[in-house]
């Protein structure tokens, strides 16, 4: 039985049966039938529920004349992502803001929730969580490319001259797949290394010094979220922007 957080234990106690049945319909046999929900999955569910509750509160308290502090924060984030994608992508960039903002909120809360004792950051617990975000963003920007240029989007892979196409297409395909890999590894390694370094210093000096590394981890969480969203914006620009 793997080591479980209290949330994971709660969810497994309540839902182990139905989740096992669900996994069996997909011909997946869980490694520990009494604990099919892993720590990362349980924490992701918690992050999702938390974000939905926060968004519901903000929506119910929206007001034009008398905005509260939460509305200020959410409007600030929205404006920041809007202005940044405007600067990078150009026209019609506000249609990408919902996806980028949702991605940003999700990754930020996932990163920060690891600081609370009793919880574990899903992005640092298993490489599959950042991989999920990266694969989703990969499909998103390719889908946007196809939506904006139709089938002509494939010409992006051919390079500057059609005679170079047989050389450029494999190189472009590999570089696009390498983007998924680099987004995943960057986020996972930053979060995992932050935990590791805190543990190493905790084993050396149990009092006081690990707090510095937790503070550094807060800064790194924000920075890595910003970098993830920024890189997805840049990839969107490569897929969508055309010279008008």
């Amino acid at each position: 039985m793997p080591e479980q957080l209290w949330i994971t234990r709660l969810l497994n106690h309540a839902l182990a049966g139905p989740v096992d049945a669900l996994l069996r319909t997909f011909h997946v046999s869980p490694q520990h039938p009494k604990a099919p929900i892993s720590n990362a999955a349980a924490m992701q569910l918690l992050v999702f529920v938390f974000l939905v509750i926060v968004f519901a509160i903000v929506r119910s308290r929206l007001s034009v004349e008398n905005p509260g502090p939460l509305q200020h924060i959410v409007e600030g984030v929205h404006g920041f992502i809007n202005s940044q994608s405007e600067e990078i992508i150009g026209h019609h960039s506000s249609e990408f803001t919902p996806y980028l903002a949702a991605l940003g909120y999700y990754i930020l809360v996932s990163n920060l929730i690891g600081l609370i004792p009793g919880f574990e950051s899903p992005t640092g617990a298993s490489p599959s969580v950042p991989l999920g975000c990266a694969i989703l963003s990969f499909f998103y920007y390719h889908a946007q490319g196809f939506k904006h240029s139709g089938v002509g989007y494939m010409k992006h892979f051919a390079g500057p001259m059609p005679v170079l196409a047989p050389l450029m297409v494999p190189i472009e395909m590999i570089s696009h797949l390498a983007r998924v890999l680099s987004l995943t590894i960057r986020l996972y390694a930053n979060m995992f290394a932050g935990d590791m370094v805190t543990l190493v210093f905790f084993s050396l000096v149990p009092l006081g010094i690990p707090i510095l590394f937790l503070t550094l981890h807060i800064g790194v969480s924000f920075l890595q979220t910003y970098i993830f969203v920024l890189l997805v914006t840049v990839y969107l620009q490569g897929a969508v922007a055309t010279e008008h």
Partner: protein, 100 residues
Amino acid sequence: MRTLSYMFMALAAMCFAVPAFAQGGATEPTNWVAITSGFAMAIASAVCGLAQAKATAAAAEGLARNPAARPGIQLALILGLALIESLALYTLVIIFAKVK
């Protein structure tokens, strides 16, 4: 030129330690993966530090020459630093994947 010749002399002197391989075999084989990964991580972090220093220096100088371009310079700096950092982190991931 002198420093180079001194360095080669020091390296040649270190070859005198080769007979250490002849001592009786250890009961368990040395874990070369752990030793190499320590050196690999050190090299990766050192080169990453050099590259980030160059990037920060260029950004600071650009900002000093043209403070009005702060948003663009800040964006380029943060993006560059994160991308360089991620290269050192790839080495760390290999270490965690391969070292038992």
